[in-house]
Symmetry: C2
């Protein structure tokens, strides 16, 4: 299928460096507008030069401020920076977000920095695929560094941050993060620990906690632990150096890259199949009688699904 | 396929009223052990008598205490009660949960009450399908009332609570819940509002906020607002009456039921197709060369997915 004119124009403008084109492309792809898939096929070719930094941590650990400071550091190193802020879906507790968004606006005004906020609810292609799409569009635009900031709560958010080349897990004193982190298996995704608000009492204890956990769980691999005070900028230069080194070393292995691509293909496939199945079933007149049967307990959803799958499985087997 | 002996025995014991069999069945179905689908086909026939109450709200609104008190009220009305507590995945902030779990243990000791806790991460069939399966097993066991308690954060949790016959949205004074609720579209899923901790300052304001929001958004439909103090039990009797009436009126329409069943079939279908596709792709030698091509940008994930889908789409079209 040909990419239509509107898409073609946007892609051309994207490559010319238009932030407006980038914004529109992201929105159109997020909304799965007709032609999105062909557009991403095209854009994929231009990707692979940006390096991705994932930043995650509990609410209140100062991730946004840290993200802003890191972005500024990379701008000073003549890097073009993209930021993807994945907001918590939090239908109730959205209060603190307003402040975050205001801070994000300040960051957005830094030259060479482009910020995109993503809702965590209702992403048509699923949250982690949508984030991958946005990363690719920013990459194709010419961003050198893309920072993905997510709240470290929820499987989706963790899946997103795992796609980064380097993952920073942010802890702060007085929240018992260390202990919780190990419980949830966040430990293993950290390439670098950041102890933020290191001017607060208890920061040394957090470092000690992380160290002892690493000793217990990490097969002796060393994970750097950096103390910073994001608000004042203390420790940010050192952190930027370590992150840069980590990105240059390309420490993540070929096996990890393959795994990431495989996961991307699987997620994309699942979503596309789901989307297709919904589209055909939603206008099947057969469906309505099946639903009535299930409600009357003459039929059950499990049998219905098994029957739908018979031809699908046969098709796959014939195709192998 | 025949349900094997182990499953058959468990189903027979479930119908005889064995809580141990119910626990084991839930675990085996959650883990998608071989035979789970046939078991659920069998169990589905015995479902449809239990009534489902969904309770949702922000962390800290006292949902667990409210759930416990409501459970006790229904036990006093000679009802057999099942509780499904969907814990937040929260990899970092798990601290408060310990207290919740202790409270849950107290509730679990009430006669006629069975509590099941569900992790929000890693449910093989997806969180909302797993919750549906657990509801059905409890229903087939003979529970009259099943209370699903979820934190009202995250699309999955909201999807779960929407499957209930009556949905209680819990607010408390001083958290700005009212305003947030409307933003997130939680408003429309509430059949009953509960203002908990109504002895605190600001409770009347919460009621007023909810009322004014209802006026703005709800086409004039009346949604009851109940003030309670879960810890002392104040207002629980009145709330129980209103919930009972709501359940007896069977206020949710036939269209809603059809929509729920359709959604269940779609989710089940998507998960089963995804599961199947993953199983065949994970041992394809072809996959490894495709991954290498994608990493080298000679190929892209979007094209790969389109190609995989060709025979699937053909199969669906032939089958219609």
């Amino acid at each position: 299928m040909k990419v239509d004119n509107d898409w073609e124009k946007l892609i051309a403008d994207l490559y010319k460096g238009s932030e407006r084109a980038m914004s529109r492309l992201i929105s159109k792809v997020e909304n799965r507008e007709n032609g999105w898939l062909e557009t991403m096929q095209e854009i994929h070719k231009k990707t692979g030069s940006a390096r991705i930094i994932g930043i995650t941590g509990s609410p209140g650990t100062g991730k946004s401020t840290l993200t802003g400071k890191l972005a500024r550091s990379f701008v000073e190193l003549q890097k073009k920076v993209g930021i993807i802020a994945v907001d918590p879906s939090s239908p109730f507790s959205g209060g603190a977000l307003l402040g975050d968004r205001l801070r994000m606006n300040e960051i957005n005004c830094m030259p060479g920095v482009f910020v995109r906020s993503m809702a965590t609810r209702g992403a048509l292609g699923g949250l982690s695929q949508s984030a991958r799409d946005v990363v690719k569009i920013m990459d194709a635009f010419g961003k050198d560094i893309i920072i993905i900031e997510t709240v470290g709560v929820g499987q989706d958010e963790i899946d997103i941050v795992k796609t980064a080349d380097v993952v920073l897990v942010v802890c702060v004193p007085g929240m018992g993060d260390g202990i919780q982190a190990i419980k949830a298996g966040i430990m293993e995704i950290a390439d670098i620990f950041v102890v933020n608000k290191a001017d607060l009492k208890g920061a040394d204890q957090v470092v000690a906690d992380i160290k002892s956990m690493l000793e217990m769980t990490n097969d002796g691999a060393t994970v750097p632990i950096n103390m910073v005070v994001s608000t004042t900028g203390e420790g940010i230069k050192e952190l930027t150096d370590i992150v840069s080194q980590s990105l240059m070393n390309d420490q993540k292995k070929a096996a990890w890259k393959q795994e990431q691509v495989q996961e991307e293909i699987m997620i994309l496939l699942e979503k596309e199949v789901a989307f297709y199945l919904r589209s055909i079933w939603n206008d099947e007149t057969r469906l309505s009688s099946v639903l009535k049967q299930v409600i009357a307990r003459e039929q059950d959803p499990y049998t219905v699904v098994k029957e739908i799958m018979v031809p699908l499985i046969k098709a796959c087997e014939d195709h192998r």
